[in-house]
Amino acid sequence: MPSISRDEVAHLAKLARLAVTEDELDLFAGQLDVILQSVATVGDIATADIPPTSHAVPLTNVFREDVVRPSLGQQQALSGAPEAEDGRFRVPRILGEEA
């Protein structure tokens, strides 16, 4: 029995904001199933008494003095934008029809 169905892959694609095609759904459903079954073996040795490691180096928050420093200017920050207007990123409509 597959660990992941075609419908679940379609749902994942939606969550990940990927407008995948029908052909891709067929391809990915099979491949993701094989991959997920293979990686599930981590459960074989991951017992309850083992603490998880999220990062190889123990992390502590890093602070700096709150002083103004040189940074990217507005023009530089917008230089790669697909569209900009009045010194701002121009985006498609955000609110739904009902708004």
């Binding site: 991959i35 991951a46 998880p52 569209e83 498609p92």
Partner: protein, 494 residues
């Protein structure tokens, strides 16, 4: 003359440039000519910046003429993986989603290279977002292995390693998340080093899996890699995971190693990385390396690290999970591609259409696996368990390093496979990283140094040397001694 220049090591070139025997412009032009002559076949570069390279070379030449003291690698050309931002110079990460993007700032690695007078020839090809082991996942076409143009140069940093093997550059920069420096190094007969995690700044390195990504040096000799390591390493306040410790003395260690004495050095052979699935020629090359290290005076014994058998599955949960989060920034709003914005579609629709058009299949697969592994109901079984395996791998390393100074294994289970051979089988492709992944999960340094050619196919094999965190110099010493005994590889004949 030109021929001598492209065959020379970075250390030799630096000496010649700094003594005024040749100019950096001559050296740079020789490599630009070599790229023009060979890159139609190899396709190591996505972008060649001849103008920028020659301008930097002229600056170094002027400084040398004026009698100024220059940095040890000033004037020497380098190939930069296209994952590092370069101000005003295209940075694509091998993806269509960033095609044509001109970064407004330099990565810390880029800045350090420029400040050291290193000449950046251009940006090298890579698997899209550094996801892959063959450079076939580049949206701009594959790179070909200079040893056999029908074969892969490894990945994700296949462009950087192929450039070294094709004598297009004596130095290169790679990034290694699961083996992307070491595996290409192994299959192209070049040296590739993944430093201790946090040893080299990730600022301006386009993120794939932030807890694993680590930039490092690539070269044709161990000493050259060490010289480059010291240029790019060091604490950076722009990277919150940067380690605030002195840079390990890797150049001194490489020079010590070149004397050829490894008396008293304790080397552990990881027993998990041999046997089934390993090409016999690779194992024979590895055994020959073990014998050679013994002759140099090293004490060698087997060591078992049972959790390493689970490194591959843990990695293919952790890296996709982090990538699914990191790549959310490609939202078609602030930089990069935007498609489908015809005035009728919502932001969410434009985002989904753009990501569909801009990402290749492997990137989409990994984003979806990560999304799955992090979703409620599956988190504990997948991502949570993978994090526990990470703990076990770190413990196995700690145990092994209580007895041994360094650990060794083959870098990859096989030599370079044919282009297309594993393209439709993601799991087969993933297995190329079998031996390299544990060091990423533990954050420890590891490198690959050529161990000759496999006797059955005549293709390069790599010896992997692993050391404890912040002890990068230990592996350089062993690698340099081994290289001195075996003889350094030149490039491939094209």
């Amino acid at each position: 003359m030109t021929n001598d220049l492209i065959h020379a090591t970075a250390a030799e070139l630096a000496a010649k440039i700094h003594s005024g025997e040749v100019s950096s412009v001559e050296v740079t032009q020789a490599h630009l000519d070599r790229i023009a002559e060979t890159d139609g076949k190899v396709h190591a570069f996505l972008h060649v910046d001849a103008e920028g390279a020659l301008a930097q070379a002229r600056k170094v030449d002027e400084a040398v003429k004026a009698g100024e003291t220059v940095s040890p690698l000033a004037g020497v050309p380098l190939a930069l993986k296209d994952v590092m931002t370069t101000e005003g110079v295209p940075t694509t990460v091998g993806s269509k989603i960033l095609e044509g993007w001109l970064p407004p700032y330099d990565a810390t690695v880029t800045r350090k290279l420029k400040e050291a007078g290193v000449v950046i020839l251009g940006k090298t090809n890579m698997d899209e977002f550094a996801m892959g082991s063959s450079t076939e996942n580049s949206a701009y076409g594959p790179t070909h292995n200079p040893w056999d143009l029908d074969r892969i140069p490894g990945g994700s940093g296949g462009g950087s390693s192929a450039a070294l093997a094709a004598l297009q550059a004596p130095l290169a920069i790679g990034t290694d998340t699961g083996g992307s420096i070491r595996q290409p190094g192994a299959v192209t007969g070049t040296v590739g080093v993944k430093p201790t995690y946090g040893g080299v700044s990730r600022y301006g390195l386009v993120a794939f899996s932030s807890s694993l990504d680590q930039a490092g040096p690539c070269a044709r000799t161990v000493l050259d890699a060490a010289l480059l390591h010291e240029v790019i390493a060091g604490y950076d306040e722009m990277d919150s995971t940067s380690i605030n410790e002195p840079v390990p003395p890797v150049v001194a260690a490489a020079r010590e190693g070149l004397t050829g004495d490894l008396s008293g050095v304790r080397i552990g052979v990881v027993t998990q990385f041999q046997g089934e699935g390993y090409q016999p020629g690779v194992l024979r090359s590895f055994q020959a390396a073990v014998s050679q290290l013994k002759e140099l005076g090293a004490e060698i014994a087997d060591v078992s690290c049972p959790s390493f058998d689970y490194a591959l599955p843990a990695y293919y949960l952790i890296a996709p999970s982090e990538c699914s989060s990191n790549l959310a920034r490609f939202d078609a709003m602030r930089y990069g591609l935007r498609v489908g914005d015809d005035g009728t579609r919502s932001t969410e629709e434009v985002m989904s259409l753009t990501r569909e058009a801009g990402f290749g299949p492997e990137v989409k697969r990994r984003i979806m696996i990560g999304t799955y592994a992090l979703s409620s109901g599956y988190y504990d079984a997948y991502y949570g368990s993978a994090q526990k395996v990470r703990t076990l791998i770190t413990r196995d390393f700690q145990k092994a390093f209580a007895t041994f100074d360094v650990l060794i294994s083959p870098t990859t289970p096989t030599t370079a496979f044919k282009i297309g051979e594993r393209a439709d089988d993601p799991m087969a492709m993933y297995k190329a990283d079998l031996c390299t992944i544990p060091a990423n999960l533990a954050g420890t340094p590891a490198m690959s140094v050529p161990s000759g050619l496999s006797d059955e196919d005549g293709l390069p094999v790599g010896l992997q040397i692993m050391a404890p965190a912040l002890q990068d110099h230990r592996m350089y010493r062993v690698a340099a001694a081994y290289e001195a005994a075996r003889g350094a590889f030149g490039g491939a004949s094209l």
